[in-house]
Amino acid sequence: MSDATNLTAQIDINTIPALGKEQLLELAMGPQHPSTHGVFRMNVVLDGERVMKLKPVFGYLHRNHEKIAESETYLGSMPYTDRLDYICSITNNWAYAIAVEKLAGIEVPERAEYLRVITGELTRLQNHACLLGFLMQDMGASGTPLMYAFREREKIMDLFEGLTGARMMCNYLRFGGCRVDTPAGWMDAARKVVAEFPRFLDEYENLLVGNEILMDRTQEVGILSKELAINAGISGPMARASGVDYDIRKVDHYSIYDRFNFRIPLGERGDVYDRYMIRFLEMRESIKILEQAMRDIPDGPIVDPKTKIRGFRPKPGEAYGRIESPKGELGFYLVSDGALNPYRYRVRPPSLINLTVLEDLCIGQNVADVVVILGSIDIVLGEVDR
């Protein structure tokens, strides 16, 4: 913590034109600042309103996730993955399930793959809706946009409750399939929610997209160049907003994504406005995928009958499973030594790696923009700190 408190000492005095070093203000934003989406601290050095240096401090929500998983059975870690990125629990389950399935060589039945795509894309819708609401809240559009977004998220969470039993901590996927099949009437309810979702998107666009205040606050703010995005390993909507054409759904063709017709929206400038708009466009593409998946879903078993719930021991080896989670590339790396629990368990969290460029985005910006830039990165501290 000593170097974090001595940020002013590290600044080269010659880079500050008008003021001396003693004029700089050191400020700790967080960990209880409401804009930090949890417990996250940014130690910023300010020259007036301008950010000269920024140091992120995290770990307040560290829960020893990886080490706990190494002492749990493979299935026992599944509910813990819900708690990584607690807004999109099903995509976390999915990445972990893919890693274990690669490790043990398990096949997934057709219907289960469709169910995974449907629940995964619903998760993407609710994550992006949430993000748009929170970003507006950070900009000072207090209340209304967030409530509109949460109203839509509520409908999706009700669907999840009807299917999995829990609204947030779904714990739905199993190795080789899903836990339960859809109850009667669930698919019709889901179709209704998906059919009504574009109306919310139109409404939200009317509400804010043409808004001059929003444009002033977001355009040309926090520009992430394409080169930096690639070099820093940025993934997900944030990389695509900078024009990096990289979506694991298209690159890996994991699960059954090669059967669906959808496009990957790309941004041009890589500023906060692009990152904001890319989520809108992604939601429209997700709705296309959902419509196709709900039309084509076949009947059949939902779990591979050969997989065991108890006493599951994959053969020794290693596997890395990754998916395009709503926030970026979410990967799980597992090493098995043939025992009941993994020998090594590692998470590649998209939020943490996208957060590494925060200082580059913030330097030279106003302090009020730091909040907006952080909001546009889309972090969940449960995943950053693990």
Binding site: P79, M169, P183, G210, E212
Partner: protein, 218 residues
């Protein structure tokens, strides 16, 4: 025109505001303690133990196999096995849990105990007003609080409970068939033994007639 976007946004807000007077669907808030959302059937909260019949102690399905205790990811279940046995639903003699505690301040409602239970005895409850003044003892549920009747289970998860009941009925029928078959086999064996004994006694009679000494002890 500058400000066009803002006006458009305000119109949208006004439409939502005025619309809530016209359409009840737009009123999404539920006044919670007075008014409650309908219970969704698949919902789950914390585990409970199912018992058959009216006596919670006698009808408890749990046989204290301790699988759930081992598989529980946060290790919130504590079971102590009994020394003696009692008959279970199919009439087989089984152990029962002398102690069965679940610390619901640790439980994370993952449902893995339900999935691994081979006796359909632990299931997920849907109660949710569980706040308590005592954070340790108040949230540690004992066997007496956990045991709930099969009728209750049928009211909260009807589809799932019906499947479980059908499975149990099948098991009971099988057990009854086994008992009947055993009884029949016993009867047949007795009848056979009787005819054998009769035949034998005739032969032994013949033998005794042939051999005047001994044979009576057979």
């Amino acid at each position: 025109m500058v400000g066009k976007g803002i006006i458009k946004g305000m119109v949208e807000t006004a439409r939502n505001f005025l619309g809530s007077y016209v359409s009840k669907q737009r009123l999404t808030t539920i006044q919670y303690p007075e008014e409650r959302a309908p219970q969704i059937e698949a919902a789950r909260n914390f585990p409970f133990l199912v018992f058959d019949g009216t006596d919670a102690e006698q009808g408890l399905r749990c046989v204290a196999c301790q699988i759930c205790e081992k598989e529980c990811p946060p290790k919130c279940i504590f079971i102590e096995k009994s020394k003696d046995k009692k008959p279970d639903a199919t009439g087989k003699m089984q152990f029962y849990p002398a102690t069965f505690n679940i610390d619901i301040s640790v439980c994370m409602s993952c449902q893995i105990c339900v999935e691994v239970c081979p006796f359909d005895s632990i299931k997920m409850d849907v109660v949710y007003d569980l706040s308590n003044n005592d954070r340790f003892a108040g949230l540690l549920l004992h066997k007496q609080q956990l045991a709930k009747s099969n009728e209750y289970y049928n009211t909260i998860h009807p589809t799932e409970a019906a499947a479980v009941d059908a499975h149990f009925a099948e098991e009971r029928a099988k057990a009854a068939a086994r008992v009947k078959a055993a009884a029949e086999a016993k009867l047949a064996a007795e009848a056979k033994a009787a005819t054998d004994a009769k035949a034998k006694s005739e032969t032994t009679l013949a033998d005794t007639q042939a051999q005047p000494v001994g044979g009576g002890t057979r």
